[in-house]
């Protein structure tokens, strides 16, 4: 195989390369693409400048999330074969181009270019970027895969925290006119292009004979020994679909709270606070949920390395369901308990994303874990539709007669049911039958063809 700059063979780490250089490479990509969570700020800028409706300005984001799931699924195998530098470079080009195309569209008064640019092109960057470092991190940190993917995927959750002050600052400086919003998109495209470049310049894959520093001395196992199931075979196993249900329902339950965080807080505690205080408190509630979502990704995913993947999902799904029950039973009678319960639910939501690559690795091995992960992310796309649909349709169908916490009884009860189903699905997961693993000769052939060009 010819070894070009972007080829996997060009980025095999030399002896002495620190594996702690890989998480910042992953974070450079994930912190950037996590900007998607802060779309609401650019959305408001577009509404102010172009006089567009909320529904129209939601389109680029919605398309981007759909493209995230689709491109992760479609390009997963390609990402696995070509390696993380190629994937991170493509993600950088697509994500930055999405902003630049959007800037052009706004400057020309052609909103459809924003939908195509940010939603379609940028969305492909989201999907490829999201899965790009996952299998590489798990090979470097085979001894702590949950922690490694937790760091990267925490970056995706934290991306909004970087994007919020950046977007607000640029819109404030350039103004909320067509020219100002176009300039904001232009600068963000260039800035994210530069920021993400650290990822594809820095990322390295471990050599075949590399071992984690803390590997047991007696063990002669390589980091990628164990199960080795191909992506196409994984799709034919019940374990994959059980995990799909778990991820979909765990995400749906989190979105159920996240989607309605602002009106939910107003419904629960709006009566006890005056207008300006309430606005500040609502902003604080949304902020603290973002923090819990982000920290949960690292803390719980790292904990899974100690307690095991199955046990940690018992916590996310079982305790998550109980916390929803607590919110239902207590209503607005105790604010502290409400806040604590909401924070843990959101931390479990984020952790569900962060821990699933390590769960996949446990079940299917690292052989094609990136490609399998890509296909599993279609569960996220489904949850992105399911969660808001359940909460919005039920809450809004109650009309003016439903007020306060009672408006959320039905939708939260559905969330509890989904989490219980997810809990049962987790209980049904068993190790994958070794007959599904590729033959050792195929595994060795893959490793040799990668190594031959070094």
């Amino acid at each position: 195989m010819a070894g070009g700059f972007f080829d996997r063979s060009a980025i095999v780490a030399p002896p002495g390369w620190s594996r702690w250089l890989v998480p910042p490479a992953a974070l450079a990509v994930h912190l950037a693409i996590g900007q998607a969570y802060a779309w609401s700020i650019l959305k408001q800028g577009l509404m102010d400048a172009e006089g567009l409706s909320g529904t129209a300005t939601a389109l680029p984001f919605q398309l981007a999330i759909v493209m995230l799931g689709l491109s992760a699924a479609v390009f997963g195998t390609q990402v696995e074969r070509r390696g993380p530098r190629w994937a991170m470079f493509v993600a950088t080009v697509c994500f930055a181009s999405g902003f630049l195309i959007s800037a052009l569209g706004i400057a020309l008064g052609q909103f459809w270019l924003v939908v195509v640019g940010y939603g379609f092109v940028g969305g492909i960057g989201l999907g490829i970027g999201y899965i790009s470092p996952v299998s590489t991190l798990m090979k470097w940190f085979a001894d702590r895969p949950g922690m490694a993917t937790g760091i990267a995927i925490m970056g995706f959750g934290g991306g909004a925290l970087v994007a919020q002050p950046l977007s607000n600052g640029l819109l404030g400086a350039f103004g909320r006119t067509s020219g100002g919003v176009a300039s904001t998109f232009l600068v963000m495209g260039i800035a994210y292009g530069v920021f993400m470049s650290l990822g594809w310049l820095l990322v390295r894959v471990p050599a075949d004979d590399w071992r984690p520093p803390n590997a047991p001395a007696a063990s002669e196992e390589k980091a990628d020994d164990g199960p080795a199931v191909s992506a196409s075979t994984a799709l034919r196993t019940p374990q994959f679909w059980l995990l799909w249900v778990i991820l979909c329902f765990n995400v749906t339950a989190g979105i159920g709270l996240l989607e309605k965080a602002e009106p939910l807080y107003r419904e629960y505690f709006g009566q006890a606070t005056t207008g300006q205080q309430l606005t500040a408190a609502v902003a604080a509630f949304v902020a603290i949920l973002s923090l819990a979502n982000m920290l949960g990704r690292f803390v719980w995913s790292s904990t899974s390395d100690v307690v095991g993947r199955k046990n940690i999902y018992r916590l996310y799904l079982g305790v998550g369901a109980l916390l929803y029950v607590v919110i239902l039973l207590l209503g607005n009678s105790n604010k502290v308990i409400f806040l604590v319960a909401a924070l843990f639910i959101l931390s479990f939501y984020g952790a569900g994303f962060a821990t699933v690559p390590a769960y996949l690795k446990d079940l299917f091995g690292t052989y094609q874990v990136g490609a399998i992960h890509g296909r599993l992310l279609t569960a996220w796309s489904a949850a992105g539709v399911l969660g808001p649909l359940i909460v919005n349709s039920i809450v809004e169908s109650q009309g003016p007669e439903g007020t306060g916490p009672s408006r959320y009884v039905v939708s939260f009860s559905i969330m509890i049911a989904l989490l219980v189903i997810g809990f049962i699905a987790n209980e049904l997961i068993r190790p994958v039958d070794p007959k599904h693993s590729v033959a050792d000769v195929e595994r060795d052939r893959t490793a040799t063809s990668e190594g031959a060009s070094r």
């Binding site: 250089l21 490479a25 974070l27 970087v162 071992r211 520093p213 500040a280």
Partner: protein, 48 residues
């Protein structure tokens, strides 16, 4: 590859250049991230 060579790969101390590179790489992602966290934490007292 021998066990010793393999061990050198895993436990050999990074060169000064690599230490600097590691520091720059973590600062590159850490500074904007921490600034974002700081901006967010400032909002939280309004909740209580």
């Amino acid at each position: 590859m021998s066990h010793d060579a393999s061990a050198a790969r895993t436990s050999g101390g990074p060169s000064a250049n690599r230490t600097v590179l590691t520091a720059i790489a973590w600062a590159w992602v850490g500074i904007p991230f921490l600034y974002g966290v700081y901006s967010l934490v400032l909002k939280i007292p309004a909740l209580f």
